[in-house]
Symmetry: C2
Subunit: 129 residues, 2 copies
DNA sequence: CATAAAGTCTGTAACCGTTACAGAGTCAAG
DNA sequence: CTTGACTCTGTAACGGTTACAGACTTTATG
């Protein structure tokens, strides 16, 4: 099938599909006589995999590695687990970071009593560190 | 003072300071005869403001607006509050999003019982959506 | 005073992941 | 045969920062 159908079936934008091929995430396809890319069901599977992993926040580097592990069916799951754990860990860190930001922002925001810029506690708080 | 001292006093990297000027966040400086940028205390204040706001996750566009509001001391705080509230809202959204990602990841990860790639539930779960 | 070292300048490109565009070529239906 | 939909390649944009090359200036040391 051509890239348009691959896009519809996988849910990936056409430009994104070509991008994934360019950066070596998606296996290169055969080409028609006129140079059109020809996708197989396997490519669609890969694209769905990539899409879902991206939705879960995995980096393209992680995904490249997961896809490569996927091909080696006799290996142990260990490496897959490790990537997943590391990613989960990263997410928790980001959540903690954002929560501390939100805390400071709430504190700063609460100190503003709604007067004029000149006495604005928010701007004051942002200025000094 | 020259850019090196401005960098030390503000905590911003030299390249970043020049970048902020280029994109119009930091007021342009006077120049010495040889073309060196000359920073004043006001610039240092601005840089500290930018740095702290960045640490709190404000976008450069937000910061540009906050800095511009800062100059108009007779205005009401309203616009400042609104930017801050919007940002806080965005942070909460991101936290919720990350928490739902973490939830799905934990669920997927727990389904893996540590065998071989061929039966790996993580890879399986990532593939279908 | 000469030279070395440190600092600064500009312009450009890299990073990540994706999207958008221009300009050319190809394919199918009316 | 023409129109429209599709695809190709190559390049650039987004945001925010950092890194580099090559040229220049200033400061410190001999």
């Amino acid at each position: 099938m051509k890239i348009g159908e691959a896009s519809r079936l996988s849910g990936c934008h056409i430009e994104t599909i070509r991008h994934y091929e360019r950066v070596g995430i998606l296996s290169p396809t055969a080409r028609s006589e006129s140079g059109y890319r020809c996708y197989t069901d396997h490519h669609i599977q890969q694209l769905r995999f990539i899409l879902h992993a991206r939705e879960l926040g995995f980096s393209l580097d992680d995904i490249r590695e997961l896809l490569s592990l996927k091909e080696q069916s006799d290996l142990s799951c260990e490496a897959v687990d490790s990537i997943t754990e590391k990613h989960l860990h990263g997410i928790h860190n980001r959540i903690r970071h954002l929560e501390s930001l939100a805390g400071e922002l709430r504190r700063i925001s609460a100190s503003c009593s709604g007067g004029h810029i000149a006495e604005c506690r928010i701007l004051e708080a942002l200025g000094k560190h």
